[in-house]
């Protein structure tokens, strides 16, 4: 999927430009301002040079003309400063707004991507595309705006101004400058390998740190500290050696280009001074030339830095755009229906499904569920229990066959309508950052306090919520809430309890709750399930025993089907599974 959608740099650039299109006027202004400020600031050394020419020596200073030049200079300085500020502000605005647009687009896309994408890609990677890559992209864009353009204008502007003063020296500068570029490039090229080695070893070290420190408790438990330190030190030594090389060689660029610039400076000084003696130019012209010689080489060095930065930015942009251009899930059809008065007729007909094309997981699966029936699904890990739920909720689409609710193929039902008719509790508890109340009322935002408390009492969550610092208004988050896994699961059940939809899906819904609490909330569960079609996945057989239909799944197929007693009599897989819990 990744390969198909690879966005290369060129098309990334096109897409960036398209996003910039919205801010055409601002960008146009920025470019105009840049050109004007560069021209004005290049004009300043000439004015200064003119002034210096008027300061010849004792009793030989033309104050009147100096005053005129100074007034002119002041106006130019003020104008340049104001335009520069406008330009910088516009650049900032455009950059941050483009980045905001791109981020919004990426996040919106995230909501439309099929779950298959989210399940099969590392979340860290997706997050880093939206956060880190976009940030990098912003930096590059801003740098491009502020330095790339002004750099180029400065180079050409300086050239033009120099030509007006002295053609010969200008040519000298033009011929010599590429040396510094060449050297910079040469150093960058030869240090590239050192950097590559460095980042490889660093990656190796990071993954060792991840592994050892991330599992420090186990390392301690097995007294493995010495061995792990030994491994660490070995990598650390290699890293040190590689880093010294990489850092040192890369730090050669600045001094070397500075040296070459100083050679150019000396050459300009030499030819310029001789020129002055021969009357081809003035002292002011020389001073102006020297400051140009400095200015002229600087943008070259900067631009080569900016180019790498821009390339990097484009590579980052490409990663974000890859995400934005991922194939979305099939949108709801125009004429898709909304379900009304759902009784709970669910029909799976000849369903086949696989996550990867060459490994069929579910094949020719048939199941007819009548309203109010309780369907339990058991079987060893990887047998397809969770897959069935993915299909019922239409998190994934079937490869062939059909799933229908109330006789309507779910592909012809609005996703939102289908899903809001199911109440789902998963083994992996997920809570949103926010208050307990926000989390409970997810399915029914307008629930009253009484309703909330009633639901929480039914699941025995009320007693622990009450003890939290701010009760129902306590702010929690998924990662650091101080709630135990069992408490989180109780909240997830309460969430459903508040607005019981006509059909239920309980995937190991009580796996983290101890069996005593589970027994206590059993009555509420029974009430919840009464008259509602429910699908229950569990490995605790006590939960399953009371189901109307037990499906025993193995390798994507139903191998046994019936109620508890029937299946025990069958003396098949289920009875083996059931009886093994009484073994020694």
């Amino acid at each position: 999927m990744d390969k198909k959608n690879k966005v290369d740099r060129k098309s990334a650039l096109k897409k960036v430009l398209r996003h910039l299109g919205k801010y055409k006027i601002q960008i146009f202004l920025s470019i105009v301002f840049a050109a004007v400020t560069v021209a004005l600031s290049l004009y300043l050394p000439i004015l200064t040079g003119d002034a210096i020419d008027l300061i010849v020596g004792k009793d030989c200073v033309d104050f009147d003309r100096i005053n005129i030049i100074i007034t002119k200079t002041s106006v130019i300085i003020a104008l340049t400063a104001v335009l520069q500020w406008f330009m910088n502000t516009i650049n900032n605005r455009v950059t941050f707004q483009v980045v905001r647009d791109v981020r919004n687009e990426a996040f919106e896309k995230l909501q439309q991507l099929p779950l298959a994408y989210i399940d099969s890609h590392r979340h860290g990677d997706i997050v880093s595309r939206i956060i880190a890559d976009t940030d990098q992209f912003a930096d590059g864009l801003l740098m491009g705006f502020t330095q790339f353009f002004t750099g180029i204008v400065t180079i050409f502007g300086t050239l033009a101004f120099m030509l007006t003063i002295n053609i010969r020296i200008t040519l000298l500068v033009v011929v010599l400058t590429p040396i510094s570029l060449f050297v910079a490039k040469f150093i960058a090229k030869s240090t590239y390998n050192y950097f590559k080695t460095q980042s490889e070893i660093r990656g190796e070290q990071t993954s060792l740190i991840d592994e050892m420190i991330g599992n420090q408790k186990i390392v301690r438990a097995f007294s493995f500290e010495d061995e792990s330190l030994e491994k660490f030190d070995e990598i650390n030594d290699r890293l040190t050696k590689a880093s010294v090389k990489a850092v040192f060689f890369s730090s050669l660029t600045n001094p070397t280009t500075r040296f070459i610039n100083s050679l150019i400076y000396a050459a300009v000084g030499l030819t310029g001074a001789i020129g002055v003696i021969n009357g081809q130019m003035t002292v002011g012209g020389l001073s102006c030339f020297l400051s140009y010689a400095n200015q002229y080489t600087k943008p070259f060095n900067e631009i080569s830095g900016v180019v790498t930065e821009l390339q990097n930015a484009l590579a980052c942009a490409a990663r974000v755009f890859e995400l934005i251009e991922e194939e979305p899930q099939i949108p709801d059809a125009e004429d898709s229906k909304s379900l009304e008065n759902v009784k709970g007729n669910v029909f799976l007909k000849n369903v086949s499904f696989s996550y990867t094309p060459n490994r069929k997981l579910i094949k020719g699966f048939d199941l007819k569920v009548k309203p109010g029936q309780r369907v339990a699904i058991v079987g060893p890990t990887g047998c397809g229990k969770t897959t069935l739920i993915n299909l019922l909720m239409r998190f994934y689409d079937v490869d062939s066959g059909s799933v229908s609710v109330e006789g309507v193929d779910i592909r012809n039902i609005k996703r939102s309508s289908l899903r809001s008719n199911y109440g789902m509790v998963l083994q992996e508890t997920w809570l949103k950052s926010g208050t307990i109340r926000d989390n409970i009322t997810m399915g029914k935002p307008d629930a009253s306090d009484d309703e909330i408390i009633e639901a929480a009492k039914a699941t025995h969550a009320h007693s622990f919520i009450k003890r939290l610092p701010n009760g129902y208004d306590t702010v929690i988050s998924d990662s650091s809430s101080g709630l135990s896994q069992g408490q989180k699961q109780l909240l997830c059940i309460t969430r459903i309890m508040l607005s019981i939809p006509p059909m239920l899906i309980l995937d190991e819904a009580t796996s983290s709750i101890d069996t005593r609490t589970e027994m206590r909330i059993q009555r509420s569960f029974a009430k919840m399930m009464k008259g509602r079609t429910s699908f229950i996945v569990a490995h605790r057989l006590s939960t399953i025993r009371e189901a109307d239909v037990i499906l025993v799944m193995k390798d994507g197929d139903i191998i046994e089907k019936g109620n508890h007693e029937e299946l025990l009599k069958l003396k098949g897989f289920y009875s083996k599974l059931y009886n093994s819990q009484f073994d020694v």
């Binding site: 300061i55 010849v56 905001r100 995230l110 330190l229 001094p255 001074a273 101890d514 599974l577 093994s580």
Partner: protein, 577 residues
């Protein structure tokens, strides 16, 4: 940060030479305007072409010497900064390894990983930049000023004024931006948090049709980030225009006063050019200095965080003298043991008494949060008890040195974690010099032999980091094998068969029972079936032992045990058992 600096000690020479050589380089740079001034005054003034050529060769020479000194300085500073960081990294890694569970709980593994990785890089950068630039930039700024003083006092006063105003502008803008940058970072973390949460909750969000609410929330937080960025951008955009105005205004004043001085014959034309050149040098270096200070504050913050980790004292301290092993009557004994997690309000375990004979199997059962894992953690001294004592072989557990104590135990933690490497490497964690025979035997017992035999390469099968290329049940069986391979006297199974089906679980228990010499086994479980046949079952509720005895005793005497049992077995089920 200060305490970290002692690790720079071995690199004293480099630390002195790097900035010194940088300063010498800067000194050469400061001479350039003077040379240019004399070209104008003497060379051009006297029409002396030879003199001009000589001076230009000096210019080139200054550049060359600058290059040599600067390269040497870069080498010294790179070497010092990197060696320093590498040493700190080693010390920190070693230190983290010595921390007890309490400190690990408190700090969190992910924080520690950040300290070891990105914080270290930041520190290295900071040290390197400091060695290179911290002396150079101020030296040029003040050097230019001093040079100006050697030329003319009045003109030099303009320099003093300019430097003060420029410093106010540059540092004023910097200082007001630093807290804004921090706030931007916080907002960005917020955006990151929402994204991450959205991904991990994709199923629930879609099940509740909350996609649009999520988008609204993201827009909101993203907008407020952008607003803050634009505001900060406006302030930092002031830097260039303001410094531009200041420097150029200074040039105007310089020319104006310079003109008057030249008129009076106090200054020469070349001197005015020199002063003008010095002025432009100041600005460049001041901006560099300001950037240096920003990255330096970041590095110092990172350094302080690293230091804070280094200052954590392991709360569990071990003796170094080995204890002579006498076979006590009880291999494990707990006397009135209380335990409380650091900073917790209440005890996790209260007044636990337990006597276990060698070879016995002890079942520990109870609800979530009842203290089961805490109990095995104090038996293996990952935490120290608050009151009371824990005895191993009749001796207080605190008497044993770390290595000796660990050699008693084979531990299977709740989370089945394996490490990158072959199956063999992983099992050798349990016994460093284990033979293939011993490893295979352990795999047999843990019901993992079949799995490994099917894998390509058998014992040489490469396990990925965290054991990602194995299923949960397979991982769990390998972690059990890892604990068994060293033939520990005490085996702790902390809810370690949760991913196994009942049939495999029971086979596993049978196999463990047949190990000779039979180890003392602690089984923590939520499943009554897993501990039903233990010699002794301890029932925990809210950190208290509410029942202790065999299954038959407890089913009659302990209400909570009976409840747990009944909740998992039906009445007809118990007939079977």
């Amino acid at each position: 940060m200060r305490k970290l600096l002692k690790y720079l000690k071995g690199y004293r020479t480099e630390c002195v030479l790097a900035p010194l050589f940088k300063m010498i380089e800067a000194l050469f740079e400061l001479f350039v305007p003077l040379v240019v001034a004399s070209i104008i005054d003497k060379g051009i003034g006297n029409g002396d072409v030879n003199y001009i050529i000589r001076m230009c060769i000096i210019l080139g020479g200054l550049g060359l010497f600058g290059l040599i000194f600067s390269i040497t300085a870069q080498y010294f500073s790179a070497k010092a900064a990197i060696s320093f960081t590498s040493k700190v990294r080693h010390v920190l890694f070693d230190h983290i390894q010595k921390l007890s569970y309490s400190e690990l709980d408190e700090t969190g593994e992910s924080t520690l990983i950040t300290r070891m990785t990105s914080d270290m890089n930041q520190i290295q950068n900071g040290v390197n930049l400091t060695l290179r630039l911290f002396l150079r930039s101020p030296f040029i700024v003040f050097g230019a000023m001093i040079m100006a003083f050697t030329i003319d006092f009045k003109a030099a006063m303009i320099f003093v004024g300019t430097i003060i105003i420029l410093s106010l502008i540059v540092f004023g803008i910097m200082l007001s931006c630093i807290p804004l940058y921090n706030r931007i970072q916080q907002k960005l973390d917020g955006v990151l948090g929402v994204t991450r949460e959205n991904l991990s909750g994709a199923r629930v969000i879609r099940a509740f049709c909350k996609e649009n609410d999520e988008i609204d929330e993201f827009h909101g937080i993203n907008d407020s980030l952008t607003k803050l960025q634009k505001f900060t951008g406006k302030i930092s955009a002031l830097m260039n225009p303001l410094t531009f105005i200041t420097v150029n205004a200074a040039v105007i004043i310089l020319i104006y006063t310079g003109a008057a001085e030249v008129y009076k014959g106090i200054l020469t034309q070349g001197a005015v050019v020199a002063l003008y050149n010095y002025m432009s040098q100041i600005l460049v270096e001041l901006v560099k200095l300001a950037n240096l200070i920003i990255s330096l504050t970041k590095s110092v913050a990172c350094g302080n965080r690293v230091q804070a980790v280094l200052e954590l004292e392991p709360s569990v301290k071990f003796k170094s003298e080995e204890v002579i092993n006498e076979n006590g009557k009880y291999i494990v004994e707990l006397k009135h043991a209380d335990f409380r997690y650091k900073n917790a309000q209440e005890n996790s375990l209260t007044d636990i008494n337990l006597k276990v004979k060698p070879g016995e199997t002890v079942g520990i059962i109870g609800g979530t949060g009842s203290g089961k894992t805490s109990l095995v953690n104090i038996i293996s001294r990952f935490y120290d008890v608050e009151n009371g004592e824990v005895l191993i072989n009749g001796k207080n557990i605190k008497e044993y040195p770390s290595e000796q104590l660990r050699s008693f135990f084979g531990i299977v933690p709740q989370k089945a974690v394996l490490f990158k490497g072959t199956v063999r490497d992983n099992l050798k964690w349990g016994k460093k010099n284990a033979s293939d025979e011993e490893i295979n035997e352990a795999l047999e017992i843990s019901q993992a032999k079949e799995i490994i035999d099917q894998k390509e390469g058998g014992l040489d099968f490469e396990i990925e980091q965290e054991g990602k290329n194995l299923s949960g049940g397979q991982r769990q069986r390998l972690t059990i094998a890892r604990a068994i391979v060293g033939k520990p006297e005490i085996l702790i199974l902390d809810d370690s068969s949760s991913a196994l089906d009942f049939a495999t679980d029971s086979k596993l228990r049978k196999a463990i029972r047949n190990i000779t010499p039979s180890p003392t086994v602690f089984i923590v479980s939520q499943r009554a079936s897993s501990i039903r046949y233990a010699d002794k079952i301890i029932v925990l509720d809210d950190g208290k032992a509410v029942g202790q005895g065999t299954h038959d005793e407890l089913i009659k005497s302990c209400e909570i045990y009976k409840e747990i049992y009944d909740s998992q077995f039906s009445r007809e089920g118990s007939i079977n058992g």
